[in-house]
């Protein structure tokens, strides 16, 4: 292993600019003649309204005030949902129009009504206050049960009963049959609390329009600039695709929330076209709270049927999933195909049935958030497994071992439409228990108890489907686009390399990891490799970064491009060295004639490719540049076991996490340091969900947790030091053998924490977030 090659913890290239304050985030840019936008937002969860913009339009510094009526006049489309889910009745989901600026009706607090463009951000904000909105409040529904009740207020005329879809997966009859044979049935009602994503960089966008060329430019906080361009061009129709240049520069975290095509970025781009000047908008954190798509928000009833030995016969899950007021970009697939399909967990459960009702409410739209559906699935499975273990008096680890899919059973077809490709679940569990000193837990519990504390230990043996996605599979499930990825390799004449990827880094470190991969595979120095991403004019069309897909899909696309580079290099070397192509061997950056000492380094090959005097042009073209596209045959299936140990103070209800162990199987690992960092961050997100973060609306639909003062983010002293290890069963179907690591922690952690807390408390009567108040109440009841 080279110092910078695959498997080395290379310090990150991008850190130099981030550490010196020279990063290039969207809001850091200021264009000449730039204007600033502020949005007028609904203060009501549901209301019809009329607008008077006269005073605002003549306020100091105001350039223009634009509304939904102006959008309609320009024939600008509405926002779309890119994944069509088909319900039990064979009908497509309901996707009511989601206007870029609300027209006559607002449906959640924060719904954008008008955009005010002014010479300064302050002038825009001051003027936004002067837009007069006369609301006629309509009855609002906040809870999913209320929304589904007979006679509930209707949020959209074309979504009767506020139902987006009623969907199912699995085999109902077989599952009923399994329950009929059960020796024991464990039951739980679970709430998967609504989260607010809160990437630390608020969303931001600068639209620009060049009247001379007709070209639009949008610089924004995006995880997938090409998807933004496609949707803004093809569906919302602001500009044709070749006239729209989208740039996602440095992006300060995404976690899913910067995938989507939102009201604000769209309005900013359109407004720039209308005034022929750059328009910039950067969200206040308060705006992020009401306008960034939220995550999770499920209510589930789950039942697990077991035989006398504790073998899982059947799993039945019934879930309500909140969509919020409109169907966001990928919202529909999250509680269906990214959720129901993962209910097999790591187990051989013989029959599974799951039904999901997706529900509209007068709340901020809900969409994918770190893990997206898979944390919800793992939460359901791992909570009910622990519950069954307790009820049957079987050790929680032992019950899992009895039911694991054995390591020799792969590929393993699940009962819920997937085929797991590889794994060794027992290995990860046993290693995690060893590090966590599971065997000695009883003694630690006693020591805690002597100090008046309640100690608990919780396991979470999670699974996820990553490397999203095999286009054929997702297409058959309703995805509007295939989810392949692109990669380009361009050698310059002097032998250094530009790497173009359609994926996007917003903290994951692609500039380092991808450079390691290319340097290792092509035998060029790490320092000579530059990774280019996030710009639709520079990189080939690509699908972006989410679902832990960048290395598994984007990295594999680079391998395809590099294989083409090597094939061409072989031709060039054969021609130059006067040998036959078949005799050229490539290794460590050198093309050598087999059995001789004649060879050319790839840098020499590149030079020759750009300065050819005598190439036989019919057979050999100049240049050394190739593009590859990779579409995986299957998802990847990272899995592992996390162990959480807690100590609860019964006097105050405070929970302290005293130990965290993560053993994950991500397949092959390119940069272990970066992978560990991804696990730490994911775990923090999951611990946040379990202990601290809970989005709350009051009964009238006002967001109660609308700032960092009210919404508890995990802070340094809420989290423990973590022990992170990996096991490895390489992914068998991508050339790198990698599986993806970005979401694992967020998927594993909530169940681990809650299993530890319920173990400590000896009661199940507690939901996330297990705040001190919730714990204290659970103990007092």
């Amino acid at each position: 292993m080279a110092e910078s090659g695959i498997g080395a913890s290379v310090p990150r290239t991008e850190d130099q600019r981030f550490l010196t304050g020279s990063g290039d985030y969207t809001d850091d840019t200021t264009f000449p003649h730039q204007t600033h936008a502020a949005f007028v937002r609904s203060t009501h969860p549901h209301a019809s309204f009329t607008l008077d913009t006269t005073a605002a339009a003549s306020a100091p510094g105001v350039v223009t005030v634009l509304t939904g009526a102006d959008l309609a006049a320009d024939e600008i489309g509405t926002l779309i949902c890119g994944w069509q889910v088909t319900g039990k009745d064979g009908e497509p989901h309901k996707a009511p129009p989601h206007p870029v600026l609300a027209v006559d009706t607002v449906r959640h607090v924060g719904d954008a009504i008008a955009i005010v463009v002014a010479e300064s951000a302050r002038a825009a904000r001051d003027a936004a206050e002067q837009v007069e909105v006369s609301y006629a409040p309509l009855p609002a529904v906040v809870s999913m049960r209320d929304a589904l009740a007979d006679g509930a207020p209707q949020i959209h005329s074309d979504a009767p009963g506020n139902l987006c879809y009623d969907w199912e997966i699995g085999d109902r009859a077989a599952t009923d049959d399994a329950f009929a044979r059960a020796h024991h049935v464990a039951r739980l009602d679970l709430v998967n609390n609504r989260l607010i994503p809160n990437a630390m960089e608020p969303r931001s966008a600068i639209g620009d329009f060049n009247p001379a060329s007709g070209d639009y430019t949008l610089r924004l906080t995006s995880q997938n600039p090409h998807i933004h361009r496609l949707v803004l061009a093809a569906f919302i129709q602001i500009a044709p695709e070749h006239k729209l240049h989208v740039i996602a520069p440095d992006v300060g975290g995404g976690f899913g929330s910067k995938i989507f095509i939102y009201q604000e970025e769209t309005a900013v781009l359109w407004a720039a076209g209308k005034i022929g000047r750059p328009v910039k908008w950067t969200a206040d954190r308060s705006e992020s709270f009401v306008a960034d798509a939220h995550g999770r928000d499920h209510e589930s009833h789950v039942e697990l049927a077991l035989d006398a030995d504790g073998r899982f016969l059947g799993l039945k899950v019934s879930t309500l999933a909140n969509m919020g007021a409109y169907l966001s970009t990928f919202a529909s697939c999250v509680p269906s195909y990214l959720y129901g399909t993962l209910l097999q967990g790591q187990y051989t459960t013989e029959a599974i049935y799951c039904e999901v009702k997706a529900v509209f409410t007068n709340t901020t739209p809900v969409d994918a958030l770190r893990g997206a559906g898979r944390p919800e699935a793992t939460y359901v499975v791992e909570r009910i497994v622990d519950q069954a273990a307790r009820e049957m008096g079987i050790d929680a680890a032992e019950l899992r071992r009895r039911n694991f899919i054995p390591a020799d059973a792969f590929p393993y077809p699940t009962k819920v439409a997937l085929e797991y490709d590889s794994g060794n679940y027992r290995l990860a569990l046993d290693r995690a228990l060893e590090i966590a000193d599971y065997g000695d837990f009883a003694a630690r519990r006693e020591a805690s108890s002597a100090r008046g504390r309640l100690r608990g230990i919780g396991l979470s043996a999670y699974i996820e489907a990553c490397g999203i996605a095999p286009s054929q599979v997702v297409g058959s499930l309703g995805a509007g686009v295939g989810l392949w990825e692109s990669g380009g390799i361009r050698f310059n004449p002097t032998g250094n390399v530009l790497v173009y990827t359609g994926s996007h880094s917003h903290g994951q470190g692609h500039e380092t990891t991808f450079a390691q991969l290319v340097s290792d595979y092509l035998g060029v120095p790490f320092e000579s490799v530059e990774v280019v991403h996030g710009d639709t004019e520079k990189t080939p069309f690509g699908m972006g970064t989410y679902g832990s897909r960048s290395l598994a899909v984007g990295g594999s696309a680079l391998v395809k491009a590099m294989d083409k580079i090597i094939a061409k290099g072989r031709k060039i070397a054969a021609f130059t060295l006067e040998a036959s192509e078949e005799d050229i061997e490539f290794s460590g950056g050198d093309f050598a004639v087999a059995g001789t000492d004649r060879s050319m380094n790839i840098a020499e090959v590149a030079f020759s490719a750009y300065v050819p005097h005598n190439y036989p042009l019919d057979e050999l073209e100049p240049g050394l540049e190739e593009t590859g596209f990779y579409d995986p045959a299957n998802f990847t299936f990272p899995a592992g076991t996390h162990v959480c140990e807690v100590e609860v103070d019964p006097e105050t209800g405070t929970t302290e996490i005293v130990n965290w162990v993560a053993v994950d199987d991500f397949g092959n690992v390119v940069n272990p340091m970066i992978v560990e960092g991804q696990v730490h961050g994911g775990v923090a997100h999951g611990v946040g969900q379990a202990l601290l973060e809970g989005c709350a609306y009051d009964a009238d639909g006002q967001l109660l947790t609308g700032s960092f003062m009210d919404y508890t983010m995990p802070r340094a002293d809420d989290l423990p030091d973590m022990t992170v290890e990996t096991t490895c069963t390489p992914c068998p179907h991508n050339p790198l053998g990698v599986k993806g690591c970005g979401e694992a922690g967020a998927i594993a952690a909530p169940a681990a924490v809650m299993n530890a807390i319920t173990d400590a408390l000896g009661t199940n009567a507690i939901d996330m977030p297990a705040t001190p108040q919730a714990v204290w109440r659970a103990l007092s009841e």
Partner: protein
Amino acid sequence: MPVNVSMNVNGRAISEEVEDRTLLVELLRETLRLTGTHVGCDTSQCGACVVHVDGRSVKACTMLATQAHGADVVTIEGLAEGGKLHPMQEAFRDNHGLQCGFCTPGMVMSALDLVARNPDPTGPEVREWLEGNLCRCTGYHNIVKSILAGASTMRGGS
């Protein structure tokens, strides 16, 4: 109402006319184009905006520019000398103490104030000190590790 503010920023004397309600962070980012100092919230909670004013860490979103009149201000841009990273910056890189980098300038500036007050902090002391700095990416594990390593180097340790 426009007012004049003068101060030293990263060792350079500046004097600007600004609107009286201008925040220090707005002066830094918008007027002086020192965009390394970030804004992550509107309630003084996240710490992305931390700079040093007369040697103390301050949330630049919570202070008017006029309040820093006459002060010595150091931002993240003022740490590296002649292209060489400050040992605390170095420690963040070596220990993967950053991912998206958005919280990082505030984290580094805050860490330096901690080390100035407590040159040899423990892990729990670092965690407690970071109460005012939010990070969504790293889970803090490697930030704590970085600060401990940076403090050690600054003490002249290895």
